[in-house]
Amino acid sequence: MGSLMATAEIRLQPERVNGRRAAQPRRPAVLRLLQAERSEEIFPLLLEEIIALGNPRALVVDVNFDSGEVTPAAALKWPRQQMEKFATALWVSENPLVSVIHTARPQVLGKTSLYNRPLYIHPILYSNRNLCWEADRIRTGSCLAVQNFRRQKRIRLEDQVCSTCEMRAYAAAVVVELPKGHTEQGVAELGELIDLANRYLSRLFKVEHYYNRMRDMEITIAQMGTVMQSMADPVILTDTQHRVIMQNKAAERFFKVPDEMTEGLVRAVEFNNLLFSAALSSMLVSGSDSHRDLTLVDAIEGEEMLFEAVSAPTYGPDGIQLGTVTVMRDVTDLRRADQELRLNYDRLREAEEVVRQDRDRLNLIIENVGDPIVVCDSRAKIVLTDPLAQEVFGAGTDAGPDAVQFKNQTAFGAYIDSFTYSFSERENAPLRLYNPTLKQEIEYDARSGKIFDEKGQVSYTVTVLRDLTALRRVEQLKVERRMLEIEKFAATGRLAATIAHEVNNPMEAIKNAIYLLAGAVPESAMPVYTILKSETERVARIVRQMLGLYRNTEQVKPVNVNTIIEDTLLLLNRQLQRANVEVQSELENLPDAVIAADQIRQVLSNLVINAKDAMPNGGRLRLRTRHIPGADELHGWVRIVIADTGTGIPQEMIRSIFEPFVTTKGEKGTGLGLWIVKGIIQNHAGKLSVKSKLGTGTVFKIDLPVVKL
């Protein structure tokens, strides 16, 4: 308002005013005031009219609402130096100017300290008789102009902004020096003139306010347009019939028919519009849910894209829905990422399941190994133990290890420490630990291995502790059982021998008697005599064999099989030489086998004699022994191979040669030899096998178990 008044002052040149007056005939004041096209033209015209009414001089003071200052803004015929007296401020309430503005009522002053001649002071305040359009449209009575006009409330100069249209009001006062002998009527006319000017001023002011608002709005609209266009997401404003009112560039890509029309593009756009319209309708129907997924075809790239459309209704000032604003978010990548994420998550779950199953299986295995298992980390700290190991070392979770477990931990710690930091990948060492179940210290066989990480560093070590004493006890039991078996066999042998022995003496007499009768048998009885003689000899052989089962029985003890072979060969040497059999023996160093030496001696002599008998024209007998170590160093086998270059055993007989009373020697054999061999080898938990080829020879292979005790 200040600047407005300053311009007004420049226009208030007396010459120009006089010139205008000189050029035109005087028109009524109302019409003259109507010439004002802008608010700042009102005051100069008003002051001219006031002077024209015969008043010597007049001026206008203007209120600055921000500072509260009241300053002269325009004057006519008033000397400049005198004008400064009228400068004041709203808080100077004793000043007659200020009180007129505050009360908004004109006042006539006589001679005062302010001015030495009578003055008429008229307030000018933004006012209107009727509501402005805006207040009228929204049907509110809260219009500042009307409130000021009606003066219903006390004028609040500190709050001169309209609450409806946000228009800033103005306040001023017209000061007129009254002529000598002024009349009441003259003052009233003056008041009417000023009021009239104020009404024009208010209207012009309002128009200018609207213009300014319109300009501000245009700027806002332009800004909003820029914002909308610069959005990467399609934004569409549609009317209630789903017709597009406005859309941004991003939306045009999908919904506007492009300039270069190809049928494909047009169809794509049409299809998009159809889909969009359908989505809008469905959103409208569902009411609350204003989210829809929408697959649109990019008219330029030709790609399908997935959008999430969010719609909001737009309302006019009267509360009637004008249309819908839809913002679409491109969620193609988002969905793809989401799907990928979900897929990866599923894969992870599957992998976890596999790992879990593996772990369960491993746990099951570990629990069923039956030996304590200890897993240590790269710093030789125990990280995992199975229930058996927990007995030895403590569970690690509850109160902590007891004294014995602590001692075991220390012993184990020393062992696993040296293994973990050693270069070897495996370790196998005896370890003495206290066994809580047996309540004594026993020797474990600690077997350890390393698990490496991808860098080749040790990540874990796994140690299995085998209770060697338990293993040995089992072996001891096995040996004892085997001894019992041998004993049983021996008992059978004893029984056979007892029978044989009883048969033996009568046999001896019969045999001798037959021999003695040789010369006394008549020729006709010879065939019968021959049968008698040969069958008696056969019985004699069987009896001899049966006696052999028991002959020289003795205790089972560790024996070197090589010495038995040497003994046997020594014993049979003469026979073999006589039969022209060449003997080759290759006897390796052997560990002792726990055997009944005499029984094995019988096995060997039976087989050697068989070999000799199979080579009636002589040949070669090979005897070989070999130690076959077991996988665990505890067990193993002693192998004896007896090979001849004899006639061989017919294929059809080879299965039955170990059965009793089967012989290839005809009348000479008892058929008991190999049966006894088989029984003895079985009793020793040994293995017996035979390979034979007619005309080439026969190989017997015997494996006797050896146990390191």
Partner: protein
């Protein structure tokens, strides 16, 4: 030649077989009888069953014979023998023949023992030929 066996039929057949070979044979059924016979006369060869009446063994008879003449060849005739028995026999230089005895083996062993006895007699020279040289040869 002294033959001892507690089984009468066996003893008889041994005697007959040996006599058939031309040996002069004294047959005894018990150890007591045999020891008494040894006391009466010396024998070139003693063939003796291992297990005799009651708990007596052939060792007793052979010991008695060797008391009289330590060079007396002797053999045990037995159905079976423990290792101890066999060991003891071998340390004393006593032969063992397991029953049933092959008659060839029986005769071969006997003649070897007789020859041995003759050789030792020739060396010693004081006794002369107690055992007959017979047609068994060959």
């Amino acid at each position: 030649m002294l033959v001892v066996d507690d089984e009468a039929s066996v003893l008889l057949t041994y005697r007959l077989i040996l006599e058939q070979q031309g040996y002069e044979v004294v047959a005894c059924g018990t150890s007591r009888e045999a020891i008494a016979a040894i006391e009466k006369q010396p024998f070139d060869v003693v063939l003796c069953d291992y297990s005799l009446e009651e708990q007596h063994t052939g060792f007793e008879v052979i010991t008695a014979a060797r008391k009289r003449d330590p060079e007396t060849p002797a053999a045990l005739l037995t159905g079976y023998a423990t290792k101890d028995t066999a060991d003891e026999a071998s340390t004393q230089g006593i032969g063992i023949m397991f029953k049933p005895i092959e008659i060839d083996e029986f005769l071969a062993t006997t003649s070897t023992m007789v020859r041995k006895k003759n050789e030792s007699n020739e060396k010693g020279g004081e006794k002369g030929n107690a055992a007959p040289q017979t047609r068994r040869q060959g």
